[in-house]
Every structure is written in structure tokens, then in C-alpha cells.
């Protein structure tokens, strides 16, 4: 119940925010809620890191997650997903703790990565935050 309430508050906060960019308008662009690690990856990550996790090149590059040794360190992955880096946005307010946990576990055990040690609740403390002010 509390979570639902907090979710509702976060949503209303998002709706009440002033527009600071040319944007679609209120209420839209809600995808189905991603639950499994793979669903979270397909929803949020493959837009840049691509369906096969190999990243892509343009004027710059999106790094590959496939066969990426950095995924061996859970804390590193959690920090990057939570806070972003360079052009990559932060996801600490987009993903719940459960979604982050599922995603990081998925990344560490797919795309040629084989890090079996489970992702714990403590690893994803940073997630589930309220939306950040955008001004």
C-alpha cells in the first residue's frame, strides 16, 4: 500500500513538473512494466546497447556490455546504471530496486558474461528514488 501511495505521489510530482523541453505532453509514453531482468533490458537498455549487447558506433560509441569484464564488479554496474556517465542518463529514479536487481543479475549472466554471484538488495540501495528536478 505504502509503495502504491509513493508511486502515486511520484507520478503526480512528475505530472506537476513544468515543461522544460519540447516534450510529448502529460501522461504518455508508459510502456508495460518490466519485471524480469530481460524485460528491463529490452525496455531501457537495448535502445543504446543494442539487442545483442554489443553496443554501437556513430560519431561516438555506445559501449558493449557483451563480454565486458567490468560487469564482474556488481557495485560498478549498479553505480553506472543508477548514475549514468557521459551521455548515459541516470536510472535511479526510473527503475525500482527490484527492477535494478533483476537487470544487473541478467547483465552479469548473459551476453557472454558469466558472473554467478547473486545481486543483493544492498547492491541496489540507490534505486527507487523520486524523480530528480530537471531545471
Amino acid at each position: 500500500m505504502l509503495r502504491r501511495l509513493l508511486g502515486a505521489i511520484a507520478l503526480s510530482a512528475a505530472l506537476a513538473a513544468p515543461a522544460l523541453a519540447d516534450e510529448p505532453g502529460p501522461g504518455g509514453s508508459k510502456p508495460p512494466v518490466a519485471k524480469t531482468g530481460e524485460e528491463v533490458y529490452r525496455t531501457y537498455c537495448q535502445a543504446c546497447h543494442m539487442a545483442d549487447g554489443k553496443g554501437a558506433k556513430g560519431a561516438g560509441a555506445f559501449p558493449a556490455l557483451a563480454g565486458n569484464e567490468r560487469l564482474g564488479t556488481t557495485g560498478y554496474v549498479a553505480f553506472m546504471v543508477a548514475n549514468g556517465k557521459g551521455g548515459m542518463p541516470w536510472f535511479k529514479d526510473a527503475l525500482s530496486k527490484e527492477q535494478a536487481q533483476a537487470l544487473i543479475g541478467y547483465l552479469r549472466t548473459h551476453f557472454g558474461n558469466n558472473y554467478k554471484e547473486p545481486v543483493t538488495a544492498a547492491d541496489v540501495e540507490a534505486f527507487g528514488q523520486r524523480p530528480t528536478s530537471r531545471f
Binding site: 505530472l15 506537476a16 513544468p18 515543461a19 522544460l20 523541453a21 519540447d22 516534450e23 510529448p24 505532453g25 502529460p26 501522461g27 504518455g28 509514453s29 508508459k30 510502456p31 529490452r42 525496455t43 531501457y44 537498455c45 537495448q46 535502445a47 543504446c48 543494442m50 539487442a51 554501437a56 558506433k57 556513430g58 560519431a59 561516438g60 560509441a61 555506445f62 549514468g84 556517465k85 557521459g86 551521455g87 548515459m88 542518463p89 541516470w90 526510473a94 530528480t132 528536478s133 530537471r134 531545471f135
Partner: protein, 530 residues
């Protein structure tokens, strides 16, 4: 509302104040009226007297870069522009039939629109107070036409309201306002506002609520000709024998609340989404083309910048030719760099650590736009919708109807999605074919009979996969503004950054232009001091 005495016109009032208090008082009063506060554009810069032989290299032939080049060339600098793409305009862009577009990851689309039809993947509407942009559109001969921003007759759809049935904006808005007026009227009758308002003001408020909310004599919002005159009729007024109108049923208020209509109404109150808005005739890309008519002779296309260095003697930029290969190093006294931060943060440079930290501190938003070409204008012919947007809580966000060529036969292009946030990521992660399928499926909610039947072809742009932008717009927050913004915009030795990312008008062309003017004004001052 006749007060029994003549009210002075605004001009009379300003004249009187001017006589009493001078210009400053007039300005103060104009600001109070909201007439002087809408723009930060001081007019085109008056830069002149550049030192003979001074050179500037501009990175990026988007609007910020091209404006910088134009004004600096006028001021007497020798200017060169390097552009990654084979076209000018940057994110100011239109896709037409015959265009080929390859996104990061390799998916290629061949746009199949009929002649004259287009998709504006990036900017698509211009607020009337974005005066820098409007000024240069006029100066560069870019013809503008109205952009139908607000259409009462378009739809609002929320999967959680009315069993997923879309409703007309006007009906939802009227029912929201009518119910709010009635409830507030009840609160007044229950003395809930007595502590806040005098009896006289309470009466005024009640009258206002009655006329605003279309309430009856008993302050009730009910089915009738009054409410129908806002929300629409069951049978609209006609002529002759059966001309009498029939009122329409009201929507259940709990469902009206669920629809989120208040947020849609608030959206249109946002100062950047208020009417009047404009678009260029023939596609947004006409603005970039207009700018390029001024500075096209300065642009080197297909130039991928790999290094940006500066020292006491000048700036050196290394770039490779995307098409022919080969590496060149160009030198100049100064540099205006408009490369999006997504890309710039991956370019080798000797700018200060603090500057590089600022460049790497600003992530980019994503958005996805999808154009759907339909065989005919069924939204006009069958549903009386002429321009404007139908909103949905689904991933596509909205569909938007073309603002030109009304009543014409032949194919027309709808904006089938403008998705941001999570929906933008998910659509962006799909193949172009999958995006079209989702757009057709979700957009069908508004036009179930016609949407798939009349569909001809489509094109999509997911901004995170645009090779030269790798994102849509800079996404600042309070923390990053405080820590990095001033560092980012500061001219560091010989290099200054410009673009929407270096402004508080983020994600608008106006922001890139205001940023550019500010940057070159400082550059010119620095150059004269050097």
C-alpha cells in the same frame, strides 16, 4: 462586468504613466502587463571590427554553429565550419520521400512518403515568443505557417479511464471544469471560503464559477444546452424544421478525473506550449536550409572531429573524412564548438579537467518520433480534426495531425508517436519495423476503422540511435546546473561551447541560438582583448 466608469485602454494607461514617471516606469508597467518579459533576445548582435586575418573554426553545422559562423563572418572573421553529416541543420531536420536514413546499430530506412510529405524527427513547433529563431527565419527567408497546437476536437485517451475509450478533449475539459465549479460553489455555500474572501468577492467568485463552469441557476453542472455548448452536443444546432439541438450526456466525474485531463489542460498553459505556434512551410528542415544559404560556403561536410586541442598560438582540430577517409588538421585562432555533449565527451581534447568533467556530466534524453503516411485524411474527413494532437497514456504519447494542406486529397503524414521517457527507450530499442507496428496498434485506439486500412508506409527516428547526436537533448538537473553549468558555458582560452545544452532553454532551437549569440559575443570580446 460593467463597473459604471470607463476603463482606460492599456495604451492610455502607459502614456499616462510615461508622462508621470518616464521610460523606466513604462518598462516596469509593461513588465507587469507581461509584455516585456517573454524573450531574452536583444536583437542581432552588433559585432564588428574583428582583427584582420582572425580565424574561427566552428564545429557543427546545426543552428547554433551556423548562426555563430554567420555573425562572426559578418564581423570580419575568416570562418570555417566542420560538420559530421553530409547536410546542414543538425537536429533541425525533415525526412522526405526518397531519403535514406541509417541509425546506430545499422538499421536502414528508405523513406517512402509521397512528394511534399515529411516527418520532422526533431523540432516541429515554434513558440511565438522564441524571437531569436523567428528573427532569423524572417531574415533568411524561411516562410512560416501556423502550427495547430491546441485542438478541442482531438482526443484524450488513458488506458485507465472510460474502459480505454478515448474522449474528445472538449468534453473532458468541460466536464472537469463544470464539476470543479459546482464543487467550489458548494464549498462557498458551506462557508468554507468565508475566512479567505469577503462576502462581495464570494459573490463575484460564484458568478465567475457559474459562467466559467456552465452551471445552471442552482449552481449545478447538469446535462443541458449550457454544458453542451462547451462539451459538444448530442445533436448540434441545425436549420429549419428539425434544427433544435439536443444536449449530450455528461461523463462520469470519477472517470474524468482518472483520464488525467487536468494535466492535459495544464500542458497547454505552459508558456512554451501556448498558442500561437509556428512551423516552416515544407518541413522544419527548411530552417537549416535557410541558415545554410548564408553560410553553406563555409561548411566542410562528412568531417568527423577526433581531436580538439588549444595552446597559446591557437586551436587545432583534427578530423577524418567519413566518406573518402584521410585525416586533416585545421587551425584557427578561436573555436566555437557546438558538438552535442554525448559525442564531445568522447573526443580527445586538452581542455581543462574541470571543463571535461562538465562535458561528461550532462546525459541526454531520448525521444522517438514516427511518421505514418495515410492514404487519405480520414481524421479530417471522418472526424473533423484539423491539426492538433490526440494524447494517450500509451508509449506513443500522442498522435499529431498535419497542420498544412487541409481538405486535400491524397496521402498525408501523421505524427504517429512522440515518445519520451521509458516509452521512448522501449520504442527506441525496437527495429524500425517493430516501431511502426506498435504505432499502428496503439494509434488505432483513436481511429480504429481507418488506421491500419489507410496506412501506406512509415519512418521512425529514435534519437538515442541518431549517429551524430546519440541522444535527443541535454538533461540537466539542479545539482549538475549548480556544479557544472557555468564551467560548461565559460570561454576557456580559445574555445567556447554553444548549443541547446549550453542554455536554460534546453531542447528548443531558441536555446541553441541564444547560447550561440552569447558565446560569440564573448568570443569577439576576448579576441579584441587578446
Amino acid at each position: 462586468m460593467d463597473t459604471g466608469r470607463p476603463t482606460p485602454t492599456r495604451r492610455q494607461l502607459l502614456n499616462a504613466i510615461g508622462l508621470m514617471g518616464g521610460t523606466a516606469a513604462v518598462y516596469q508597467m509593461m513588465t507587469t502587463f507581461g509584455h516585456a518579459a517573454e524573450t531574452r533576445f536583444p536583437g542581432p548582435p552588433k559585432l564588428d571590427g574583428a582583427r584582420k586575418g582572425s580565424t574561427v573554426i566552428v564545429l557543427g553545422a546545426g543552428l547554433a554553429g551556423m548562426l555563430a559562423a554567420h555573425e562572426l563572418e559578418k564581423a570580419g572573421y575568416k570562418v570555417q565550419i566542420l560538420e559530421y553529416q553530409n547536410r546542414p541543420g543538425g537536429r533541425n531536420w525533415s525526412l522526405y520521400g526518397g531519403d535514406k536514413y541509417t541509425e546506430m546499430g545499422g538499421a536502414t530506412q528508405n523513406v517512402g512518403f509521397a512528394k511534399g510529405n515529411y516527418l520532422n524527427p526533431g523540432p516541429w513547433r515554434i513558440p511565438h515568443h522564441h524571437k531569436t529563431l523567428l528573427h532569423y527565419c524572417k531574415a533568411f527567408g524561411v516562410e512560416l505557417q501556423p502550427f495547430i497546437q491546441f485542438n478541442h476536437n482531438a482526443y484524450v485517451h488513458n488506458v485507465d479511464a472510460f474502459g480505454g475509450q478515448p474522449q474528445r478533449f472538449r468534453s473532458l475539459a468541460a466536464d472537469f471544469e463544470g464539476n470543479v465549479a459546482e464543487l467550489l460553489g458548494k464549498a462557498i455555500d458551506q462557508k468554507a471560503l468565508d475566512a479567505k474572501l469577503t462576502a462581495e468577492d464570494t459573490d463575484r467568485l460564484k458568478e465567475a464559477l457559474r459562467s466559467w463552469g456552465m452551471l445552471d441557476k442552482d449552481m449545478r453542472y447538469v446535462k443541458g444546452l449550457a454544458s453542451s455548448s462547451h462539451r459538444g452536443f448530442e445533436l448540434p444546432p441545425g436549420g429549419g424544421v428539425n434544427g433544435a439541438p439536443k444536449p449530450s450526456d455528461l461523463l462520469p466525474f470519477d472517470q474524468v478525473l482518472r483520464s488525467g485531463i487536468a494535466a492535459n489542460m495544464a500542458f497547454f498553459m505552459n508558456d512554451e506550449f501556448q498558442t500561437t505556434m509556428f512551423q516552416p512551410v515544407g518541413g522544419m528542415g527548411k530552417i537549416g536550409e535557410g541558415f545554410a544559404k548564408q553560410v553553406g560556403h563555409l561548411i566542410t561536410y562528412n568531417a568527423k572531429v577526433t581531436k580538439l586541442f588549444q595552446d597559446k598560438s591557437g586551436v587545432s582540430v583534427t578530423y577524418t573524412d567519413n566518406v573518402k577517409g584521410g585525416t586533416t588538421t585545421a587551425k584557427a585562432d578561436f573555436c566555437v564548438c557546438t558538438i552535442p555533449l554525448t559525442v564531445l565527451s568522447q573526443i580527445e581534447t586538452n581542455m581543462s579537467e574541470k571543463k571535461q568533467a562538465a562535458i561528461a556530466a550532462v546525459p541526454y534524453s531520448n525521444s522517438v518520433k514516427i511518421g505514418l503516411e495515410m492514404r487519405r485524411r480520414f481524421w479530417e474527413e471522418d472526424q473533423d480534426i484539423f491539426g492538433g494532437h490526440s494524447f494517450t497514456s500509451q508509449e506513443i504519447g500522442l498522435i499529431s495531425y498535419p497542420n498544412n494542406n487541409f481538405f486535400q486529397d491524397g496521402p498525408a503524414v501523421l505524427l504517429g508517436a512522440f515518445a519520451g521517457g521509458a516509452g521512448g527507450y522501449r520504442l527506441g530499442g525496437m527495429t524500425p519495423e517493430q516501431r511502426i507496428e506498435v504505432a499502428l496498434q496503439q494509434g488505432s485506439v483513436f481511429h480504429p476503422e481507418q488506421y491500419r486500412k489507410e496506412f501506406l508506409n512509415g519512418a521512425s527516428v529514435a534519437w538515442n540511435r541518431v549517429p551524430w547526436a546519440m541522444g535527443c537533448c541535454a538533461r540537466w538537473n539542479e545539482e549538475t546546473r549548480a556544479e557544472h553549468y557555468q564551467t560548461l558555458v565559460a570561454m576557456e582560452d580559445r574555445i567556447v561551447l554553444a548549443g541547446e545544452h549550453a542554455s536554460y532553454v534546453g531542447c528548443w532551437m531558441e536555446g541553441s541560438l541564444l547560447s550561440s549569440l552569447d558565446a560569440i559575443t564573448r568570443l569577439h570580446k576576448r579576441a579584441l582583448e587578446a
